[in-house]
């Protein structure tokens, strides 16, 4: 898990933050002395000795309990130490999740064969970022497994621990703590900019499919890994979107990029009328042994608590999620019906969207490399846009700016979170960069400018102008970013 990064000079070694341990406990399960082990529902790494596990859990329990005396409704969320930082999250009543992250560090070699000096950079980690990562862990678990308490009600501690182990064993391997940043705090959704008419066509498509396939309860429509329509509620869509864009889609993108004769390329069915295929469920409908099993997801866990089959179907860059009541058995007949109904329409729609998008782009002029980079987020609709992040992949999300700048963005965000009023913060970074954060109503905009020898007034003017430029730049994109840049000054 330790990945050294070579810093300036040959000798120094830089270590990024990494996961030390991750555990879930419920104090009610072992309230008596000598029964402490019963509290522990999951513990990573598994090899840790039993007593140490009990000690660590006990410590967390004590800290939370202690801080509760000062703030009964809002106990400690994190504990800072020199070597690591611990994050606490009460995901459900009495169910606590704890994540321990080792602080980034620099290893400086010493002369004369002495052991190297280790410097922990304990201020480099931002609470809100890793706190959000921990909450995301829970949300992702809940999406595929339902709540802790339901599992406990259904099959006791045994079933719950079984589910936790099965899920987190794999999930923790995909946590890339070194590349977590502000976007993890937002957990936003990137919306695909689209003209009204094409959007209405998609509406029409979704409504018709839901009418024809009456089993389908909810539908979500994505294009180019960006959301266009969600029949799910916002919170459920948020986590499903995260799963789709960081896990499912990247896993399936490789075959599409692969050459025609590559073994990775999926079998193109004899039917060339459409390009539709299932990303979950049967890989090839023609296969007589095809399995019609789909992942199950849990939504609306606060009220109706629904368990659904997640069918993800894709044609070119358009992907549609159909969600069907899990009580229904999905068979070959249903999948064939869906394929023949949705495949041709979705293929057509995908090329329509592509064409419309290109027209809009042509109108708005050639895409110039802007003189600034930004992250935008709207708390109201979770709309997120970043020109700082490159394409997300299954493994890491790559940023195009220095981690120090990302750290500044995170700090500004923390400042914004502290007060409820509109704010604007301008920061001069150590390098020639200026970082500007703007918060207006429910929107946040972070801009990184690279201007040598600029002073505060110039930067302020530049950001004001930039809002105008932003407007022009996005005029044809009917995205919230436009509105915000318009209204950011409100």
């Amino acid at each position: 898990l330790i990945s050294p990064r070579m810093a300036s000079g040959m000798q120094e070694k830089q270590y990024t933050p990494s996961l030390l341990s991750f555990f879930i406990y419920n104090p009610k399960f072992g309230p008596r002395e000598g029964e402490e082990e019963k509290k522990i529902l999951f513990y990573h790494p598994i090899e840790i000795e039993k007593n140490e596990k009990i000690r660590n859990v006990g410590l967390c329990e004590a800290i939370v309990q202690f801080t509760r005396t000062f703030s009964p409704t809002n106990p400690a969320k994190s504990l800072h130490t020199q070597k690591n930082r611990q994050f606490f999250h009460e995901a459900e009543e009495n169910y606590w999740m704890v994540m321990v992250v080792r602080n980034p560090m620099v290893e400086k070699p010493n002369k004369d064969g002495k052991p190297p000096t280790v410097e922990y950079q304990e201020e480099e980690i931002i609470d809100s970022v890793y706190g959000s990562v921990l909450q995301q862990c829970y949300c992702m678990y809940k999406l595929f497994n339902g709540t802790f308490s339901r599992a406990f009600e259904a099959g006791g501690v045994e079933l719950l621990t079984q589910k936790l182990e099965k899920f987190f064993y794999r999930y923790l391997q995909t946590l890339h703590l070194q590349s977590c940043d502000l976007l993890d705090v937002f957990g936003g959704i990137s919306f695909f900019p689209l003209d009204k008419m094409t959007y209405l066509k998609i509406q029409s498509f979704v409504n018709r499919v839901e009418e024809s396939l009456s089993l389908v309860k909810y539908t979500a429509f994505l294009y180019n890994d960006q959301l266009i329509w969600s029949g799910l509620e916002q919170d459920d869509m948020r986590i499903l979107y995260k799963y789709l864009t960081t896990s499912l889609f990247p896993r399936h993108s490789e075959p599409e990029l692969a050459g025609r004769d590559s073994p990775l390329r999926p079998e193109v069915a004899g039917n060339l009328l459409h390009y539709g295929r299932f990303l979950t469920g049967p890989a090839n409908l023609k296969d007589p042994d095809a399995k019609f099993r789909f992942p199950r997801i849990f939504v609306n866990t606060e009220d109706s608590y629904e368990e659904l089959h997640l069918i993800v179907y894709k044609a070119m860059t358009a992907a549609v999620c159909f969600m069907v009541n899990a009580a229904v058995d999905l068979n070959r007949e249903f999948c064939e019906q869906l394929d023949s109904l949705v495949g041709p329409q979705l293929t057509l729609l995908a090329s329509d969207i592509c064409e419309q998008f290109n027209i809009n782009r042509r109108i708005s002029g050639p895409e110039k490399e802007p003189q600034f980079k930004f992250i935008y987020f709207n708390h109201m609709n979770l709309a997120e846009k970043s020109t700082i992040h490159m394409r997300k992949t299954a493994s890491v999300s790559l940023t195009s700016v220095h981690p120090d700048l990302m750290k500044i963005l995170g700090d500004i965000n923390c400042d914004f979170a502290r007060v409820n009023e509109d704010e604007e913060i301008i920061v001069k970074a150590m390098t020639d960069y200026w970082v500007v954060g703007k918060k207006s109503d429910q929107r946040e905009l972070y801009v990184i400018l690279n201007q040598k020898n600029a002073n505060l007034i110039e930067v302020n003017e530049e950001v004001k102008r930039l809002d105008m430029m932003g407007m022009d730049y996005f005029t044809t994109l009917k995205l919230s970013i436009v509105q915000v840049l318009l209204t950011a000054s409100v």
């Binding site: 029409s204 009418e211 709309a383 509105q483």
Partner: protein, 605 residues
């Protein structure tokens, strides 16, 4: 069953004395007048026309059997024919021969509406020579040949005038030929063949109406539909030549609807034998004494009735299952509006709930007609504005036919009821509303805000706020002040509506005052000030509003900031608080909190 009759006889027929041994009845197609001639005119001639004005009664001497009797247009001159070769005009008049043509003619047919005369020529009679009359000129149109089912040997007259009718359908002149079933051809039944007779150019065979049966037929044209009456089955069929059948270059048509009888009709017996209280008796339909005239007249000489044939549209709802075809059919009918609207209602709420793609097809068809009208209206307005100098004659104000179903019609008669209807799934309601909005957008028709309000109302009713949010995000519900205000009112149940509303007001760029009010009401005084400054209107706003709002926050620093801002502004503008608004109390408060010295000098002066 009674709601299945789609043809009926007019309620107010023209009544006349029935034909008998002493009473001869004549009909003049040009004036649509019935002449009842008693005893050769000696005991009276009663003329009844379609309205009272054209009705006349007079006497004339009995000079022998009357073969034919007519008025000229406007009832000016009466002409009576008593022998095959002479026509008498009771007043002394002279006739002048204007033009003559020499052709061997078997029979003739004259269409008064279009002033076209058809002459049957050649031995078989199937070469028709049309003439067009216009004011005082006669022009010969190009002749054409009717294809006979079989060529008789030796040649003899084979085309009877009984099998030919002339009528205007969709503003075009057609010669209709009733082509009887022939054993030599393997056609399963008789056909009506339509020859299009344009004002200029050649006549072409364009449509074939399949009757699928044999026997005696009669033709009418009603509301641009060809009606074929079949005597032996006592039913009628209707054909719409604009309903496309994909069958080669020549349009072969099947009946639009299954064969049905004309709606049963009851007549009141008249004459001395009939008591006034006597119940009406059923009229014998398809009687052999009926005479059928173009375009829509049926006369029963034996009973003394002249009816106009009418099409009832309501029954077509249940007889034509294909809703798209039904819409095509209805949109071309004269009195179609209410029927179309009831088709829409039925499609959405009736037992046979149509699926969305049918709904979409119907909406598209309606909006196509609606859009054509809007375009025509716009072109007319543009032409009028550009002045009458250019092309002044060619522009007539477009006629709004009943087929133009606008958004208000749909809202009032279909959609508002539909969204209130119990037992309809909200998913379907929203899908239908979105489909209608999609269709309007597709035809580039601006959507009225009350449709958006309907969408919002439905979404709010079912707590589908996230859906609403997404629609607004993609500007599916277009910006307007009423919509922004509606959103603002939703804020208590759905807080993000506040942002949506403000964004919308901002985009409208004509609602700056409203934005300031909204922000001040939320105690966002600085936000309001920043906004008003960003639009450059801060020199004109009333300071009092802002100071009031700032005082209400109980935040003295905020009050100080706001006060200072206006103080500076007023200094720049050379005005005093007292001059622009009644701000004395705020000045006093400022002095009280921050001291007299905090005031700028000019402001205190």
């Amino acid at each position: 069953m009674s709601d299945e009759y789609y043809l009926e006889l007019s309620e107010n027929p023209v009544q006349f004395e029935n034909a008998s041994s002493v009473n001869n009845v004549f009909f003049d197609e040009a004036n649509k007048q019935v002449f009842a001639v008693r005893s050769g005119g000696a005991t009276g001639v009663v003329v009844k026309g379609p309205d009272d004005k054209s009705s006349v009664a007079f006497r004339m001497d009995d000079k022998g059997e009357v073969k034919c009797i007519k008025f000229s247009l406007g009832n000016k001159i009466l002409a009576v024919q008593r022998t095959t070769k002479s026509v008498v005009l009771p007043d002394k008049r002279t006739l002048k021969l204007l033009k003559s043509q020499s052709i061997n003619v078997n029979w003739y047919m004259y269409c008064p509406e279009t002033a076209v005369l058809l002459l049957s020529t050649t031995v078989q009679g199937n070469v028709l020579q049309p003439f067009a009359f216009k004011s005082a000129t006669v022009s010969k149109m190009s002749k054409f040949e009717i294809e006979l089912p079989a060529v008789p040997k030796p040649a003899k007259l084979s085309l009877s005038e009984r099998d030919i009718a002339v009528a205007t359908i969709y503003d075009q002149l057609y010669v209709m030929y009733l082509k009887h079933h022939s054993r030599s051809t393997n056609s399963p039944g008789a056909e009506v063949v339509l020859y299009h007779l344009p004002r200029e150019g050649t006549c072409r065979k364009t449509h074939v109406l399949k009757l699928n049966t044999t026997g005696k037929f009669a033709l009418n044209v009603v509301d641009n539909l060809v009606v074929v009456h079949h005597q032996s089955s006592q039913t009628s069929l209707i054909y719409d030549i604009k309903l496309r059948e994909l069958d080669g270059a020549l349009n072969v048509h099947q009946p639009v609807l299954p064969a049905r009888s004309i709606n049963p009709y009851k007549i009141h017996l008249t004459g001395p034998a009939a008591a006034p209280s006597q119940a009406p008796v059923p009229c014998e339909l398809y009687s052999s004494s009926w005479s059928v005239f173009q375009p829509d007249i049926i006369i029963s000489a034996s009973e003394g009735y002249l009816w106009y044939l009418q099409v009832k549209l309501q029954p077509t709802l249940n007889l034509l299952q294909d809703k798209g075809k039904l819409m095509d059919f209805l949109l071309r009918r004269r009195d179609c509006k209410m029927v179309i609207l009831s088709v829409c209602s039925q499609m959405l709420t009736g037992g046979d709930k149509g699926n969305l793609s049918v709904v979409a097809t119907v909406f598209d068809k309606l909006n196509q007609v609606y859009k054509e009208y809007l375009d025509a209206e716009q072109a007319y307005t543009a032409a009028m504005e550009s002045g009458p100098s250019r092309s002044s004659t060619s522009y007539k104000r477009p006629v709004r036919t009943q087929a133009v179903i606008d958004q208000s019609d749909m809202y009032t008669h279909v959609l508002s009821d539909f969204t209130e209807k119990k037992g309809v799934k909200h998913k379907f309601i929203i899908a239908v509303l979105m489909e209608y909005i999609r269709s309007l957008n597709q035809f580039q028709i601006p959507v009225q805000h009350y449709l958006y309000e309907l969408v919002i109302k439905t979404l709010v009713q079912h707590n589908l706020f996230y859906m609403l949010h997404q629609f607004l995000q993609y500007h599916v519900l277009s910006d307007s002040k009423p919509l922004a205000c509606l959103l603002l009112s939703l804020e208590s149940t759905y807080p993000p509506a506040h942002q949506l509303s403000l964004d919308m007001l901002k985009r409208l760029s004509t609602a700056n005052d409203e934005i300031v009010e909204v922000l001040l009401s939320k105690q966002q005084v600085l936000g309001a000030l920043r906004f008003i400054r960003s639009v450059g209107a801060h020199d004109n706003v009333s300071a009092r509003k802002f100071l009031d709002a700032a005082r209400q926050t109980n935040d003295t620093m905020l009050f100080y900031t706001i006060f200072r801002f206006f103080e500076q502004r007023n200094m720049r503008l050379n005005t005093l608080f007292t001059l622009i608004g009644h701000c004395e109390e705020h000045v006093a408060y400022f002095k009280q909190v921050f001291g007299e010295n905090a005031l700028m000098k000019q402001a205190t002066a």
